[in-house]
């Protein structure tokens, strides 16, 4: 999974999962989605880009949720299973595979693989495309990138900056 994560922004999922208690993520996330938009006036080309009101925003991005499940939750859940991470790794190595190809890579029934792919698709981590009679599965790293940009940067930025400062200092000292 390391290679896959490198592609999607270098997020260490194990550390990520360890860092956030799932309950905290679940409670905290709607706030992340509920960012109030500033007024339209300060945007270039704002006239053509009318936004929907954010006052009624709920978290139903992909499917209808009960109000407590967010896209981030689906991504965390999808990544919490070793078989699904293995499937993502296989897609990272070679993208655009059929169910049959993926099935041959894991010790699991066709139905089992289908179920896992379905969960990955629901979380947006896999996107499918038809090519003739075949359904091809592609790895979509954007949801992990969003987690990275929304959550990880916030907590690691200061530490990374400190390390960069230290490195600069040491290099200048030589």
């Amino acid at each position: 999974v390391d290679a896959f994560l490198a592609a999607s922004g270098g997020v260490d999922v194990e550390a990520l999962l360890a860092r956030f208690d799932p309950d905290v993520v679940l409670r905290a996330d709607p706030a992340a989605l509920l960012v109030q938009r500033p007024e339209e006036t300060d945007r270039p080309g704002g006239d053509g880009c009318a936004m929907v009101s954010s006052s009624t925003v709920t978290c139903d991005f992909l499917v209808t949720y009960d109000g407590t499940v967010s896209v981030d939750d689906l991504v965390f859940k999808a990544l919490a299973d070793p078989t699904r991470r293995l499937l993502l790794d296989r897609l990272f190595e070679r993208d655009g595979r059929t169910l049959t190809e993926l099935e041959s890579e894991v010790e699991m029934t066709r139905f089992g693989v289908m179920k896992h792919l379905r969960l990955l698709e629901d979380a947006g981590l896999v996107v499918t495309r038809r090519s003739g009679r075949e359904k091809l599965h592609f790895l979509n790293p954007v949801p992990i990138r969003l987690l990275h940009d929304r959550w990880i940067d916030k907590y690691t930025e200061r530490r990374v900056t400190a390390l960069v400062d230290l490195e600069t200092e040491l290099e200048e000292g030589t």
Binding site: S8, G9, R37, P44, G48, C49, M51, F61, R94
Partner: protein
């Protein structure tokens, strides 16, 4: 049964954005928007089949590159519009000119598809067909982010979502 490795060099990215298809379309095609997220280039599309597509660097981008010792060309991306169906589908060819080695690779093709999923959310799917363009595939796949080449399409789309939903991009 022997399985022949079929090398697929297509990359697919999808992001859900709480906004209108027209807003996404404008953010992709209008320079005042493209200067505000991702690589911050100034895009210029002649939105008809056969029309030109170019991206020029902003002054800040040019200055930042010069400070790092790279002179960059006046046009950093060039291509041709193959299909334009606002605000739903845009197909262009794509060649990056910032590096001679990458510029020499075969021309690639990018398809943007914008779909209204209802409830005020649209999906933007970016498909990049990269046959034979191995170095470009690594860059747009975000493999050179640590070297300062940006995080590729995933990073750009994440920033685009942030900009459209909050009014502010990563760079502020």
């Amino acid at each position: 049964m022997t399985t022949t490795a079929r090398t697929t060099t297509t990359q697919v990215y999808r992001v859900y954005i709480r906004t209108t298809p027209q807003a996404v379309w404008d953010a992709i095609t209008r320079p005042e928007w493209t200067a505000r997220y991702g690589y911050t280039g100034l895009a210029d599309y002649d939105l008809r089949p056969g029309g030109a597509y170019t991206v020029r660097p902003t002054e800040q981008f040019r200055a930042a590159s010069a400070a790092q010792g790279h002179a960059i060309p006046d046009v950093i991306i060039e291509g041709e519009v193959l299909e334009a169906d606002p605000p739903h589908k845009l197909v262009t060819t794509f060649r990056m000119l910032m590096d001679p080695e990458i510029a020499a690779e075969p021309v690639t093709r990018i398809t943007h598809e914008i779909r209204d999923t209802g409830q005020g959310v649209c999906s933007l799917t970016l498909t990049h067909e990269l046959e034979g363009a191995e170095r470009l595939a690594l860059i747009v796949g975000g493999q050179f982010e640590a070297e300062g080449a940006g995080g590729g399409h995933a990073w750009v789309l994440s920033d685009l979502k942030t900009l459209l939903e909050t009014g502010t991009s990563f760079a502020g």
